[in-house]
């Protein structure tokens, strides 16, 4: 039935947008041992950085996206140095609370500079392609494509590069890693930079799909959590799969429950996963 296929596709696209922050969030949770709520703020910062380039400098959205990656990665790295670095040995709860404080600060910095008004990128809207009765938006296809590519790159990095392997080693056993002389701080720095960049890029996608305002990221954070937990903390492909499933479930849920309860779907997923298979699909555990 075409209709079901349409919902499925819609869900994949939504999941695609969730995937990048979910990967960042999941990998960082495993490495740093706490859920970093600031990922929501990184989404917002990425969207606004791209806005500044797109509107302010008049550049195309591709350039704006690249700038968003750079800016958000840098901000994330700086936050880590200033806030989380002095707290490396604290309990996860304290770090999580600190990350909430960071979110407050970053979101309101954006509000301070740009105000509350909503904005849109300077990008033409195109009609969707029709394929076998399915309506497929051009932008959506591009977002999905870029996302999958990035996740593949991340997985390749973690699996085949020295730094990536060192990152996994540090995540699995930080004490041993330090004893063995791995540059843990540099590893954390690179991971944070990369994670921040991913989230920033996703923020631009979100901004393309909706509108841009300081509350952009905060609406997504629960779905990101759900995706990361479903996929298994620490696994990039797991986070991607988790994101796609969360996206599909959220979109198809409108067939059975009122759309006003869409947010509840994410929570329901979390609860179900934690009760049935807490380690998630890919089996990682922080």
């Amino acid at each position: 039935m075409t209709n079901a296929a349409q919902y499925l596709f819609n869900g994949l696209v939504t999941g695609g947008i969730l995937a990048l922050p979910a990967v960042a969030f999941s990998v960082l949770w495993k490495l740093l041992r706490f859920p970093n709520f600031a990922v929501g703020a990184y989404l917002t910062i990425g969207a606004f950085a791209a806005l500044a380039v797109n509107h302010g400098l008049g550049r195309g959205i591709e350039w704006a996206w690249l700038c968003a990656l750079a800016v958000t990665g840098t901000v994330a790295w700086a936050v880590d140095r200033v806030v989380f670095h002095p707290m490396r040995d604290r309990r996860p709860f304290a770090l999580a609370i600190a990350s909430i404080g960071v979110t407050f600060f970053l979101e309101n910095t954006v509000r301070f500079i740009w105000g509350n008004d909503y904005r849109s990128y300077d990008v033409p809207v195109t009609r969707a392609l029709v394929w076998q009765g399915l309506r497929i938006g051009r932008e959506q296809l591009m977002i999905l494509g870029v996302t999958v590519l990035l996740v593949v790159l991340v997985q390749a990095f973690l699996g085949w590069t020295r730094l990536g392997v060192a990152m996994r080693a540090t995540a699995n056993n930080p004490l041993l890693a330090r004893v063995k002389g791995l540059p843990t701080e540099r590893i954390v720095g690179v991971a944070t930079l990369g994670g921040g960049a991913l989230a920033g890029g996703a923020g631009v996608f979100l901004g393309l799909d909706t509108t841009i305002d300081p509350l952009l990221g905060s609406g997504l954070i629960i779905a990101v959590f759900a995706a990361a937990i479903l996929g298994g903390i620490g696994s990039a492909p797991g986070a991607l799969l988790g994101a796609l499933i969360v996206g599909v479930m959220e979109e198809t849920s409108t067939l059975v429950i009122p759309p006003t309860y869409k947010s509840a779907v994410g929570f329901a997923i979390i609860l179900a996963v934690l009760l049935v298979r807490p380690q998630g699909l890919a089996g990682g555990r922080p």
Binding site: P86, R90, G101, N108, I222, A264, L271
Partner: protein, 291 residues
């Protein structure tokens, strides 16, 4: 000026109740409750709905407290098999789902319009200075709850809770039914939060779903962290400091003319963020350490 201070003091009292409740859950037992606002809402809505339907106030209040307790028990039993950081998300989810329920099920909760005209207790007895009377009522509640919780804290029950907070495994090995104690602690906190909700609803004479956003939970945490978690006096102090911060910046802005409107509001919130971070780095135990 007096009217303003009385209003602020009343709200401080309500926040103090919320913070005291969280202190039992987190400060004493180490349970991470990110859904404090849910029990606040249950208390306010249950009492509000019943009162507006003509139910006698003492009955409505009892129902509200029972509802909060039952909801707390249900949530705790479902979630307490999980670890620290997972419990956080589950309680957060409960808070949000409850808010959506309040927003969408208008047939029961009046939806986005909220409940107006919630009767104020003994309003007819105090035609003048009603706000002072209400402040007295809230103050009495805070005092009573404080004393009760202090008793709990030094009781054998309280000692078990603290033992659970420090090391669950040891407590379990010592023969304590850890889950049962945790649920009881959670329920106590939930009931106190529900009581805060009751006072809130009757004070404003109006409740609506967007009064119960996740941010409210965050403020309760901030108050507890500020004042010193594990310490009931700290909970009250934290509530005072929090409202002092929120209200103080209101007056500060009258002295800083160049910051206006959105900028000022954003700066205020940035300050909250910075404060939270600085606290967690420099002084995570808060102002008043646990005894």
């Amino acid at each position: 000026m007096i009217g303003y201070l009385v209003a602020i003091a009343t709200l401080v009292g309500i926040r103090a109740l919320l913070t005291l409740g969280l202190n039992v859950q987190w400060g004493l037992t180490g349970l991470v409750n990110l859904g404090v606002v849910a029990f606040f809402a249950i208390g306010a809505y249950t009492s509000g709905l019943l009162a507006v339907s003509g139910v006698a106030l003492p009955l409505a209040w009892t129902a509200a407290l029972v509802a909060s307790g039952v909801a707390g028990a249900a949530l705790a039993l479902a979630a307490l098999r999980l670890r620290e950081d997972y419990l956080a998300i589950v309680t957060l989810g409960f808070g949000e789902v409850l808010r959506l329920f309040l927003l969408n099920e208008a047939w029961l909760t009046r939806g986005a319009n909220g409940i107006t005209g919630i009767p104020r207790p003994l309003h007819a007895w105090f035609p003048a200075h009603y706000d002072l009377f209400y402040l007295g009522l809230v103050g009495l509640a805070v005092g009573t709850v404080y004393l009760l919780l202090e008793r709990v804290s030094i009781s054998p029950f309280g000692r078990v809770l603290r033992a659970i907070r420090e090391d669950e495994t040891v407590a379990a090995v010592a023969g304590k039914a850890v889950v049962r104690f945790k649920v009881q602690a959670f329920v106590i906190g939930a009931v106190v939060a529900g009581l805060a909700g009751v006072f809130f609803g009757h004070y404003l004479a109006y409740v609506e779903p967007n009064m119960f956003l996740p941010q409210e939970t965050l403020f309760v945490w901030l108050a507890l962290i500020l004042g010193g978690s594990g310490n009931n006096r700290g909970a009250i102090v934290g509530a005072v400091l929090l409202l002092g911060l929120l209200e103080g910046s209101r007056f500060a802005k009258d002295l800083i003319p160049f910051l206006t409107g959105v900028r000022l509001a954003a700066a205020q919130q940035m300050l909250v963020g910075v404060l939270l971070v600085v606290l967690m780095i420099r002084r995570p135990e808060g102002l008043l350490p646990e005894r």
